[in-house]
Symmetry: C2
Subunit: 283 residues, 2 copies
Amino acid sequence: MSVEVITAIRQLRQRLSALRRQGRSIGCVPTMGALHAGHGALMERARASSDVVVVTIFVNPLQFDRRDDYERYARTFEADCQFSAEHGADIVFAPSAEEMYPQPMATYVEAPEITQYLCGAFRPGHFRGVATVVAKLFNIVQPDAAYFGEKDAQQLALIQQMTCDLNFPIEIVPVATVREHDGLALSSRNQRLTADERKAAPILFQALSEGRHLIASGERQPAKVKAAALAVIGREPLVKVEYFEAVDERMQPVEKIQDDVRLAVAAWLGPTRLIDNVLCRVA
Amino acid sequence: MSVEVITAIRQLRQRLSALRRQGRSIGCVPTMGALHAGHGALMERARASSDVVVVTIFVNPLQFDRRDDYERYARTFEADCQFSAEHGADIVFAPSAEEMYPQPMATYVEAPEITQYLCGAFRPGHFRGVATVVAKLFNIVQPDAAYFGEKDAQQLALIQQMTCDLNFPIEIVPVATVREHDGLALSSRNQRLTADERKAAPILFQALSEGRHLIASGERQPAKVKAAALAVIGREPLVKVEYFEAVDERMQPVEKIQDDVRLAVAAWLGPTRLIDNVLCRVA
């Protein structure tokens, strides 16, 4: 089982434009590599609705707010290609940083409102880097559809907003978070956890679940939901909460829970930062 | 002689995608209407290299820093369609503001460095509006090439930078400024000038020409070029200079003239703001 690896933008464009002329639809799964079953779910979803599945693997320097995080980010290219092939990808597009940024960047895509809270408040420049590189990848791959995980809820909201506001002719398909048996959301960063941190990490999903349970039971005060969730996380001294918020679909904290809300959390386990979220339906 | 007028994005996409499937190349001329011979030159250039020429006519509210300027901007739709037909356009795309902005915008394209000086310094938000609407039009029309006038040099530099940085698969074609016999650069705003203002307006091109002459004669100090040009403009009391600068191709003022520079000027004649520029070659 093998996949076609392309590293040059020009070559990818030629390859895809030939396929497009044959009437083939193109699905794109943008990733930073270190692929896991969460990415696998994106690829399988793309495979089910596209003639050609392109997985992009690019650890984007523009979206890292800390240099050590960029350098420590897992790079497992051979395994990623094997994994992509096994999950139905046709093409892996893996450009170098020089290929993507041949000259100093002077243009940025931003959505200040969507990125004001949650991760956007703690990672300056991160979402500007995400929106900009995704706009670049959209213009390079020109897919009919692109697939993003709900685990990165604010990123997904940003991409949806950008796609709509800038009229990209691309369908954005959200794919549900994949979790370990104990509830921990899959993330490339999980492999950095020590054994003790790994044991503690599922408390994040437990706290989100407790919050969701309270809302389902009629609680409408975000502060009370947050206090209960933080009390759950407080049981694990290895976990330091960065934020826990109830937000609407534009990623704005709500003062009262009236419509569906998303509970979102970020926390540090030693030097590793994890995020997770759940959607809470309000009948 | 007639042109096909389309106002809905969805309909334009369908029309163009049918043409694209037939292998036709698409050239796009983005305008705000009030068409004159400068736009005519863009269309003729597009006609010479494209199978299908799309002229977009949209007075973009996002790029006006002053509401009165937006409201006073000339709107001459019937004449514009006739003019487009006469200059070889196949399709006029003329969306309403609601079609282009159906919901509040939350995503912007920006190039802070390119837009820091010249008009960018005096028209807050203007170039953010320009870059954002052009990104939208690029994604709607998906042309092979797009045509922009050199009269708006900073806009042209911004679009070139954006196209390159964001990997739009579009060739940006600059087209030389068209001038009246007395040197005045064509602009939709010229028709707002009183008879006296119209008589005074060519002083801008005379000042630019004087600056270019000095540089060709060996002057390398921007301050001296500027002083000489301002002295020329000073002969016309109706003309109030906003800026006069010598800039490089990234629209940064130069401290010494070493490579080719562009002299750029903005000035007010009563309530009307005019801009112009010339490229000065340095052998």
